[in-house]
Structures are given as structure tokens and as C-alpha cells.
Amino acid sequence: MDILIVGVGGQGTLLASRVLGKYALDCGFDVKLSEVHGMAQRGGSVMTYVRIGEKIASPIIDEGGADLILAFEKLEALRYAHFLKESGEILYSTQEIMPMPVVTGAAEYPEGIENKLKGTGIDALSLAVKAGNTKAANSVMLGALCKKLGLDREKFENALLSSIPQKTVEMNKAAFALGYEAV
């Protein structure tokens, strides 16, 4: 299972990959994660690879190789859509974050992205606000991912809740549940 996680630096793609990694390990699989740190994290386009299987060699996923893309932002979903396998699907947040060329007016945020994406859109931001704060949007997406892939809910939720600060557990739990029900 090859999962590509994409988004905007600072959105919490690293947390999502680590939760998936922890879950895979708990299930007894080999797993490799590959992350981007440093400069790209400052609001740039970021991607994290998660590869789970019996034995994994390369930690990266090639174009046309992903079973699932988990996208925390809609434009980023489109940017990396070509990484999908033919049978693959995108699970994306409908949140729009304007990249600097759009902010400055040098480019336009593309219209009708939903029509070009094969998969499911989640209004993660609204659901996160419902759970307590916009910062919980990545837990909403992880809830949706858990349902989409048919993963063991209890095990996956535990992997998430053990990876976050204690005081945010309740909020993230609520966010996870809202995401789970949204798929």
C-alpha cells in the first residue's frame, strides 16, 4: 500500500505519516516513511511518502505509483494527482490555501478542481471548527482515511492519540470521529 500525503507546509502532514507508520508497525508490516523538513516547511508545497508492505525497498513513491493520495489542500491534491495509480483515489480536504503567486495576483487559483479529482472531498476545516479548532483538520482527515481504507478504527485512533499532546486529545478525538463519519 503506497500512500502519498500532500499539503502546505505547517498543515501537519508529518503527523499524519507518523500515525500511519505507527499503525502499520502495530499491524506487523514493514514500513518506510519519507519526509521533507527545512525550507519547504515554510508554507511551501510538501509531500510525504508512506509505503507499507511485507518488504519495502525504496522509501519514495514514483509518479503513477500511489494507491491513495491524502491531500490536506485542494490545489495540492491536483498538483500531485498524477502520482495516482489507475486504480487509485484521492481523499482531499476542500480547504483552499492561496499560494503566493495567487495572493499577489500573478496567477489564479484554478476553478473546478473537484471535477478533475478522482476521489472524495471532505470539508475538513468546518468539521475541525466543529470539533474545537481549525488545527484539528488533520485529525478529521485521518478519521476519513481510516474509514476509506477500512482500517481498524480503535488501533488507528490509538496511533493518533498517542502521537499528540495530552491536552488536545479530546478535540482530536472529536475531529477524528467527524472525519470518520464524513466518508
Binding site: 519526509e35 525550507m39 490555501i97 495567487v102
Partner: protein, 568 residues
């Protein structure tokens, strides 16, 4: 027990298991996490050094005095540490000295794409290179053994993809070692000409012997497969080769300098087609060809960028895939919403100044709409370049500044400032003091008053440092106050000598607060004055100008540039 570990954490674990007692570093992506992790082990003395040269010098001293030591840095950090490195190869070590160096193929977070293996060849220092986290841990341990057996510093080379990937690692126990006995040995450690001449011969013999011995090292191995195709590779590339060409014969090199020539010659002879697959420089290829062994290499592979399984298939098998990416607006990294550097760059942009830049988050001041940067070369370079501007053009100082971060100023900006004062340059330096080492993920430094383990220590005062080297005009401002910042910079530019403006405000990411975010009210005249800030939270879209409350940190810059009171 198996654990999922980042390559960097695995290096730290390996060093810890090998009984390391001293760990030093200056933060640098993608090597930073090695020392951050080692700082969590109570058995290890760890430090953030002011720069990589000092880090290595501390390391040379501690290894000489008998404690196993690891010094970590990124590829460009090794440039800074080259002076001690080249001569440490001559002196050799006492206890093991391992230098973990992380290269950055594809330039994810660096200013160039250089290859540490070439530096190692010049320095005559052996290099070993792991291909995943398990090997990162094991090779770290082996590096200490090699260092002590051959009396040499050893470079443990990583690349971004190995340093920042996580894979399973079998954890072991720590081997607690007593310090090795230390004795004064002038012929070994005092590198004056008479001794250095003798030691140079020792170094050449050592490399020759290592090359011969490495034919039997278990970290160099042949994985037999089809005789039609043989690939010579190491590090992260090995994983791409296994993925792309599971049938091929593979010579996996754990040690990439010096090379096991007998093993390579036999391997090349055993296959019909022999290809060296290596990222960046043709290091292995050049050395192998010099031995008269025929291989392919950079005739098919690029000299830049990281590889992938797809690239290996494409270049070796000629397979092309027809995947097409959508043409969408780029999303370059930007200064965060609420970044204290924004206020300074807004003023520099408004005053249309030439800006000599430096290495850090504030390099992003070059991105439009701020677009306020003329050059970025290396750590500390901004101040020297500003002196150069002034010496080339006596009018330049009236419209130029050097900007440099707090951590970077300590790393290598202070000597530039000494030069400026000593040689009567008329420059303005803005120190962007955000109270941390930002880009690499918030490490302490000498001016934060905290050690790597967050223990209190002397807090270096940047203004006192400036005054001590002879700067008379030192101004402190808060960059959240645009008026105060602009006035200070203008006053500094008007002076005919060295001036320093310290713009002090903590990095917004250090405050883990949740914000409600500002809103734009109906007084907005769409004048777009706020858009000049280049704040990612302010959007000019279909519904006019709005603020993305999920990003806004209520820093107030937009409020202070809005003449209509439209932001609240």
C-alpha cells in the same frame, strides 16, 4: 525490539550504542535531528556549537582525550569544518571520531548540491554510507570501530532521503566504554612541518591499506543476480536499484572511500554490463575507471538531483512513462503568517534598498511581493558582501544593508563585523534576532541563554558583541513596530560608519498559541496596501480582501499598514 526510526535518529542510536560520550553540531537540514536525539540521552554530553568548525574542534579534542565522539553537520557545514578536518586526518584520533555529514541531492533545503565524498577524497578521510535507518544505526557503530582501528576520523555520509526517511530498526544495548588513556605525543598531534611531512606518508599508507582491507569488509557485498546486468551502488540509491531492478546483480558498497578495487574488478568482470548508479558527482565511477575497470555511469545518469526507482528503470532499461502533471500555480515556501522578519523586509522593500542576504528563513525575503534580496551565498556572507559593496562603490552604503539572523551572526557573522569596523567600512547590518535557530526547527544558540538540553547558561548579548568589536551605532527595535524599524534603518543608512540595527522579536512558531485571527470589515477600500506584506493569511480573492483565520496570528502588521481601519 524493532522501532520505526528516522535515519538521523538511527545514527544517534548507533552512536549511543557504540558508547559515544560527546556529541557536537551546528544545526543544518537534514542533519539536525542526530544531535537533537543524542541530547535526550543522559550518558552523552551534547552541545550546539557556534559553528561546524568549532563543533569539529571540540570533537577532535574529546576524541584525542579518550572519549568516543560524534560531530554532525550538513554538507555545506563540512566546508566550514574543513580546516580542522584536513589536519585531523594527519593527527588521527585516540578514541573514535565520527563525522556525520548529510548531503542534500535535489537541494530541498540548502544553497548548493555539493558532494561530500569529493571533500573526503581531498581530506583523505574514509567514508561509509548507509542505505536505510537500520544501516544508519549499524554503520554508526562500525564507523567508531574503523576510526579506532585505523586511527582516523571517519565520515558517515547521509543524504536527505536516508536522513529523513523512517524505517525499522532493531534496537541494541549501549556498550559503556572507559576513556582511552591519553598521553602527550608531539609527533602525532603537533602538526608542525617536520611532523606533518611524516604524517602525510602515514595518511597515504592508511588509505591504501583501508582500500585493500575493504575487499573483505562485510559492509561491501555482492548480491548475485542475473549476469546480464550488474549495478554498483551505495546509500539510498541501493534501495532504488533493488526496487527497479530486482533481477540484477548488485555490488553494494558500504564504504565509498577508499574503494575495494579487487572486489569491484571481479564484479565488473562477472557481468556483461556494469553500471555505477550514484547521485551527484561521478565519484565511484572516476576512481573505478582510473583503475582501468570499464563501467557505465554519468553517460546515462544526471549529475544533479536525487534518483528514484523510476529514474533507474528509465536510464538503464530505457523505459519511459507517460505520466503528465497538471499545470497549476507554484507554491513556493514563504515567510509564515506572523513571522517577525516580515516587518523588516516590508521596510527594506518600501525603501527600495539593496539587501545582502544570508542563510535562514529570512532568505524567503527574496520571494515576491517582498522581493527584497540581492544575494545569498553562505552563512555569514552578508556582512562581508556589504563591505565589498561599500569598497567597490563609495555611494552603495546609502542604499544597501546586510541582513543576518541571530544564530547565523554568531555562526560566522561576527568576524565580518570585525572586518567592517577595522577597515572603516560604512555599512548597515540588520540582525534579525528571532531568539532561535528558526529554519532548522528551533534550536537554542549562545544568545538564547539555554543549552541544547534547555539548561540555563550565559545569554550572549548581541548588542554588547557589536559594541565590543567597535560598532558605535547599535539600535534595538521591535520589527512589529514598522515606524520604529523604518526610522532606525534610515538613521543607520545616513551614518558614515558601521551601524547595526537589532530587530528583536521571537519567532512566531515559538508561541504555541491558538488565535482567533483578524477580520476585514466593510471599511476596506481594496487599496491593497496590506497585500504588499506578502502575508500568506491575507488573500485578494473573488470576495475582495479577506484574512484566512486558520493562518492569522494577529501580529498586527496589516493593521498598521491599513489607513482605513478596515482590519480588526
Amino acid at each position: 525490539m524493532k522501532k520505526l526510526l528516522l535515519g538521523d535518529f538511527a545514527v544517534a542510536r548507533g552512536a549511543w550504542e557504540a558508547g559515544v560520550k560527546v556529541a557536537t553540531a551546528y544545526p543544518g537540514t537534514p542533519s539536525t535531528e542526530i544531535t537533537e536525539e543524542l541530547a535526550r540521552y543522559p550518558e552523552v554530553y551534547s552541545e550546539w556549537s557556534p559553528n561546524e568548525k568549532v563543533a569539529l574542534e571540540v570533537g577532535i579534542g574529546s576524541a584525542m582525550r579518550g572519549a568516543r565522539t560524534i560531530v554532525s553537520m550538513k554538507h555545506v557545514g563540512l566546508n566550514v569544518a574543513c580546516d580542522p578536518l584536513f589536519t585531523a586526518a594527519y593527527t588521527g584520533v585516540n578514541a573514535g571520531l565520527v563525522i556525520a555529514v548529510a548531503d542534500d541531492p535535489s537541494v530541498f533545503s540548502s544553497q548548493n548540491e555539493q558532494d561530500t565524498r569529493l571533500t573526503a577524497v581531498s581530506a583523505k578521510v574514509p567514508v561509509i554510507e548507509p542505505s536505510d535507518s537500520e544501516e544508519a544505526k549499524e554503520f554508526a557503530k562500525q564507523a567508531f570501530e574503523l576510526s579506532e582501528k585505523y586511527d582516523t576520523p571517519v565520515i558517515l555520509r547521509l543524504t536527505t532521503r536516508v536522513a529523513h526517511s523512517q524505517s525499522l530498526v532493531e534496537l541494541g544495548e549501549r556498550k559503556e566504554l572507559p576513556n582511552k588513556a591519553y598521553e602527550r605525543n608531539i609527533a602525532k598531534y603537533v602538526m608542525m612541518p617536520a611532523n606533518a611531512r611524516v604524517k602525510h606518508v602515514v595518511v597515504e599508507d592508511r588509505i591504501k591499506k583501508l582500500s585493500e582491507d575493504s575487499n573483505a569488509f562485510s559492509i561491501n557485498r555482492v548480491e548475485e543476480g542475473s549476469k546480464d546486468l550488474g549495478i554498483i551502488c551505495s546509500g539510498g540509491v541501493y534501495q532504488y536499484v533493488k526496487e527497479a531492478l530486482p533481477e540484477a546483480s548488485v555490488l553494494k558498497l558500504g564504504m565509498v572511500y577508499p574503494l575495494p578495487y579487487k572486489m569491484i574488478a571481479e564484479f565488473a568482470k562477472s557481468v556483461k554490463r556494469c553500471v555505477v548508479a550514484e547521485e551527484l558527482a561521478p565519484h565511484i565511477e572516476t576512481l573505478v575507471k582510473a583503475e582501468g575497470i570499464a563501467v557505465e555511469g554519468k553517460n546515462i545518469f544526471p549529475l544533479n538531483g536525487e534518483f528514484s526507482a523510476k529514474l533507474i528503470r528509465e536510464k538503464i532499461l530505457g523505459e519511459k512513462s507517460e505520466v503528465k502533471a497538471e499545470n497549476v500555480p507554484a507554491r513556493p515556501p514563504v515567510l509564515c503568517a506572523g513571522c517577525p522578519h516580515r516587518g523588516v523586509f516590508y521596510v527594506l522593500s518600501k525603501l527600495k534598498l539593496n539587501v545582502l542576504g544570508d542563510i535562514g528563513c529570512y532568505t524567503l525575503g527574496a520571494v515576491p511581493p517582498l522581493g527584497s534580496m540581492d544575494a545569498v551565498v553562505c552563512m555569514g556572507a552578508s556582512i562581508g558582501m556589504a563591505v565589498g559593496f561599500d569598497k567597490a562603490d563609495p555611494e552603495a552604503h546609502k542604499h544597501s544593508v546586510a541582513v543576518i539572523g541571530d544564530s547565523t551572526f554568531i555562526h560566522s557573522g561576527i568576524t565580518g563585523l570585525v572586518d567592517a569596523v577595522y577597515n572603516r567600512a560604512k555599512i548597515t547590518v540588520v540582525i534579525l534576532d528571532n531568539r532561535t535557530t528558526g529554519m532548522t526547527g528551533h534550536q537554542n544558540h549562545p544568545a538564547t541563554g539555554k543549552t541544547i538540553k534547555n539548561e540555563p547558561t550565559y545569554e550572549l548579548q548581541l548588542d554588547e558583541v557589536c559594541r565590543a568589536v567597535g560598532v558605535k551605532n547599535v539600535r534595538m527595535v521591535d520589527p512589529a513596530n514598522l515606524k520604529e524599524t523604518e526610522e532606525a534603518i534610515k538613521a543607520a543608512l545616513a551614518e558614515e560608519e558601521v551601524s547595526v540595527v537589532i530587530a528583536k522579536h521571537p519567532c512566531v512558531l515559538l508561541t504555541k498559541k491558538l488565535y482567533n485571527g483578524f477580520k476585514v470589515n466593510d471599511k476596506c477600500k481594496k487599496c491593497k496596501a496590506c497585500m504588499k506584506l506578502g502575508c500568506p493569511a491575507i488573500v485578494n480573492g473573488k470576495n475582495g480582501i479577506t484574512i484566512d483565520t486558520s493562518l492569522c496570528t494577529e501580529c498586527g502588521l496589516c493593521k498598521s499598514v491599513c489607513k482605513f481601519g478596515a482590519i480588526e
